[in-house]
Subunit: 196 residues, 2 copies
Amino acid sequence: MENRNTMHPDLLDYIQRYVDLSEEEIALFVSYLKPRNLKKKEFLLEAGQVCRSRYFIIKGVVRQFYIDKKGNEQIIHFGVDNWWITDYESVINKTVSNCYIEALEDTQILELSEEDLNRLCVELPKADQLFRKIMEKTYIAIQARLEFMMSLSGEELFQTFISHNPDFVQRVPQYMIASYLGMSPEFVSKIRSRKK
Amino acid sequence: MENRNTMHPDLLDYIQRYVDLSEEEIALFVSYLKPRNLKKKEFLLEAGQVCRSRYFIIKGVVRQFYIDKKGNEQIIHFGVDNWWITDYESVINKTVSNCYIEALEDTQILELSEEDLNRLCVELPKADQLFRKIMEKTYIAIQARLEFMMSLSGEELFQTFISHNPDFVQRVPQYMIASYLGMSPEFVSKIRSRKK
DNA sequence: CACATTTCTTAATCTAGATTAAGAATCCCC
DNA sequence: GGGGATTCTTAATCTAGATTAAGAAATGTG
């Protein structure tokens, strides 16, 4: 049987950055996680469902999007290696989600159901601390994103995004980056032709 | 001596919505909170400082803003009754803040220093759970705000804001609402004249 | 109460970025 | 490796909302 310490090395590194867990605690934590492999274009969540889990992305890319009034797909998040993705609104409030989470590449994830998360936190109060700290970092990230969105021009936004995520341009279609940044694909095309 | 159960009734209600605490646990929690009264225009935080605390607003209004490249004050949050306010980036990462938190009215707050928060969480692991859940709700709120910002027109944004916060229009100057919503005060004025 | 400061309004002009439309590359799958 | 689907580009036109400027209300303060 696989040694639990080599099972999800990235996740273990990730956890240790936030809290200090013993061997047994890590084993307990990992025992609640369900590995899954997604094919490209496979969905983790679809609009109309209640989201029941949080997903840790080991390797791959997913996008979270909703369909706006005009019928366009609006991307609200990308999920990449070593990041959690879920619809927090739906998973916390147990409301019907209005969004989709879809793999953009073949993607390996670990699923933690909200039920299991709560059981885990009873058994291991440090899990509450871990998820508190993850939430704080996640909040800081979205706050920074909101500030960028509000203060930068379209061109600055795009340049900042690709300089922070250089590999992204290769991995996901440009029109999806445009959607994530709240601009039209034609405008991104214009920006890119300017910069060359 | 004042009975601790009547000391901060709003805070107690607020806590009970998230976790179930015994009398003693509540007393412990409250013992870490420092009440403070702010005069209108008094600052809780100024750019250049490291933010060391989180603040629970009992009664009043504060704004959190930064000075942008052009020298304008950009409002990033309002803090109102029964809401926490802090610069999470600064308080968590212990970095120098670039923003100000200022009372817009005489305001009563409870201060919880980050040091004390950590001590509290050691003594009372349920505090981790409480702050995890608060962070989740806070995240859901900012996520919704980002989605509004990205999908609504200026006019829809303003109407949505005032319908969700009807008392606000009386309590804070209109140009601050404009700043919070990322639009010019002239444009808000135009919108309001259209709607009458 | 008067005067200074703060806040709000109106209107003209200007601009970043959307929209529309069409064609050109690319990418995949049979 | 050929043909349909997907993605990207270019260019013309259009529009929401910024900017500028000036005056009018409202508010606060000695």
